[in-house]
Amino acid sequence: MAKHETPLLDQLESGPWPSFVSDLKQEAEARAKNEKGIDYQIPVDVCDDLLGVLELSFKHGRTHWKHGGIVGVFGYGGGVIGRYCDQPQMFPGVAHFHTMRVNQPAGKFYTTEYLKQLCDLWDLRGSGLTNMHGSTGDIILLGTTTPQLEEIFFELTHNMNQDLGGSGSNLRTPSDCVGQARCEWSCYDTQALCHDLTVEYQDELHRPAFPYKFKFKFDGCPNCCVASIARADISFIGTWRDDIKIDQEAVAAYVGGEVPPNGGAHSGRDWGPFDIQKEVIGLCPTECMWLEGGKLMIDDRECTRCMHCISVMPRALRIGDDRGCSILVGAKAPILDGAQMGSLLVPFIKVEEPYDEIKEVIESIWDYWMEEGKNRERLGELMKRQGFQRLLEMTNIKAAPQHVQEPRHNPYIFWKEEEVEGGFGRDVDEFRKHHQR
């Protein structure tokens, strides 16, 4: 028998999709039965009360969570998000319902043993509810009480070789695509770079000193499986400088229908025979492909490495060999100022250990943003406020054609004195030799 009546939540279960409401009910029931005989360290009815407070919020049309808190583990200014219910008498099980963010492994590779350990820990000391994974990438452990925080942290760090992730005005847990571990399109080892920077910037991850959140995301190629271009303050997107490798025989096999396009995806419906002109050449955003005597040609100087043609014909087209990444900056969700995609800052950089060049770019950006960013201003907003040129100056990067987004619509050029040979001063006598008063 459910502890609280939840007619509004029940309605959410009626649609065609799996519902989190069903998951919560299942966990509530499992905890009530406690078949494993767990010595629960937080209220056994935490999930029931979570359903109860959610139902009440639906009814009232407003939240019953208070805003934020001072909780954390000693020495860390992130990784724990304090949540308190403002109706603790009605829902004592969620009077404290803190979230813990756990730094997911690069590429999100787990052993079943690790996952079991994590679940056991969370059944014992938390609500048993998790979110795998949160939008930043972390393992999210939902709902525990203050006295449990240090216990959980000890267990994670001492017995599971596991650290907390970032939250608040910190570097957020860096997150990457699966990369070279499984993907032939990965232009650099995303996991190596993600892991290296996570370790290098531990202080930034755990001790908040930024104006606001700051995210790194790593995509091995422009397919952007972790959507770095849309979400990260600094996105590292794999690319290559030389030519796309073409296997003309395989191209012919695609055209002849011997190999299914898109690696066989979208095959749930009959799309008719593969049409290379319509599906590949005609969709190339830079119109740099054509057929010549049955052969596929690419003008690689014009190609933006969008990955479309390679994704459609993976057997025929391969990424080039001179690989590295592009660095884009300033993407963010629409909190203050509208959503923003990343702007290209470094067109190409080699990704080689110990990544010193990359770290130089990162640290110059931080120095700039930490000094000039207003409170709660993301890097993308600072760039908009002060202009891209200012970012180039602060990072010591020379303007390049790739930085140009559109033809300029302002006919005036603003020169700074140091950019003009001889400065703004002039020799009046010399001037008067040629011009009368």
């Binding site: 909780v71 998000i81 001790r207 930024f210 104006p211 959140k213 409170n375």
Partner: protein, 78 residues
């Protein structure tokens, strides 16, 4: 600046403000008159010594003198 001096400045600076108990990192750096990186070293040490404490909304972090402010009482964490 020496750590002791930084500590005095922060404690005096934050105690002065009666209506506010939570502060952005930048506010603290301003009180110290230091660049962010230098300020961070002092501030981190003050957290270690439990003179300051973190407050977080989840998306933003603030700092306050330990135990000061409504929230500490309301949540029985003081």
């Amino acid at each position: 600046m020496e750590y002791e001096e930084a500590k005095e400045k922060i404690v005096a600076g934050l105690s002065k403000k009666k209506s506010k108990t939570k502060f952005y990192f930048n506010d603290l750096a301003k009180i110290l008159g230091e660049k962010p990186r230098a300020a961070k070293k002092f501030i981190t040490q003050m957290v270690q010594e439990e003179i300051l404490e973190y407050w977080s909304s989840g998306s933003t972090s603030l700092y306050g003198l330990k135990g000061v402010g409504k929230q500490a009482h309301a949540e029985h964490e003081d």
